[in-house]
């Protein structure tokens, strides 16, 4: 699936988007896999309460299932308007 990063999550991880092959069942499982990769991922995902997640472009919870999902995005709380 495609994994997207925005705002300071993008900056910490150092890229806006990447292709991830995963068997993770939920968003939280995917986060665990990413955290284990490298320090920059561990830093970006250090505090999940400071992060929001969208699954296929809909806001979701970290326990959302990933079966059939094409796109997951991680970002800080939104500040539009």
């Amino acid at each position: 699936m495609d994994v997207l990063y925005f705002a300071w999550v993008r900056e910490r991880i150092g890229l806006p988007k990447e292709r991830v092959e995963t068997e993770a069942a939920t968003v939280a499982d995917l986060v665990e896999e990413l955290r284990a990769r490298e320090e920059r991922y561990a830093m970006a995902f250090a505090d999940l309460s400071a992060l929001r997640v969208a699954v296929d472009q809909e806001l979701a919870d970290f326990d959302a299932p990933l079966a059939g999902v094409r796109e997951v995005a991680f970002f800080p709380p939104m500040t539009g308007g």
């Binding site: 969208a54 472009q57 809909e58 995005a73 970002f75 939104m78 500040t79 539009g80 308007g81």
Partner: protein
């Protein structure tokens, strides 16, 4: 109902005028404009707005549809810019039209509250001191509780 997400500047006054002119049978029009405000230190060079193409348009359309249904609006308009903006520039606007003012006001406030915390935009302030992501305000999240 119209929703636009764009990098280009838009003419807030012209949009207000055109919106009001095309309302038939509506007695009340409310508009909101968000403007790039300088920092407390007065040294803002630019405001950069990042967004999530695709999701942004979907989120704004859903929020606008909900407002239209819930308050029986005659019309609703949302325009939001992204990219680099200078102090004083208009970042975004919403407009609502309804038979009476209470609905037009409530719908515009609802749109703004949801847009602030549920549409995927992130602001960054650029000054000589560096670039800082604007933090979400607790009262913006709390404002959703009233709807």
């Amino acid at each position: 109902m119209r929703v636009r997400v764009q990098e280009a500047a838009f003419d807030y006054g012209a949009e207000c005028g055109a919106f009001a002119a095309r309302q038939e049978g509506q007695g009340a029009v409310v508009t909101f404009a968000g403007i790039v405000r300088d920092t407390a230190q007065g040294d803002l060079q630019a405001m950069e707005i990042e967004h999530y193409p695709g999701m942004t348009e979907r989120a704004l359309a859903r929020i606008a549809e909900e407002a239209q249904t819930r308050w029986g609006l005659g019309d609703v308009l949302v325009i939001h810019r992204h990219g680099r903006l200078a102090p004083g520039e208009v970042i975004m606007m919403v407009a609502t039209a309804a038979p009476h003012r209470a609905s037009a006001f409530a719908a515009a406030e609802f749109l703004m509250d949801y847009l602030k915390s549920r549409a995927p935009f992130w602001k960054r302030e650029i000054t000589a001191r560096g670039a800082d992501w604007v933090a979400a305000r607790d009262e913006d999240e709390a404002a959703l509780g009233r709807w």
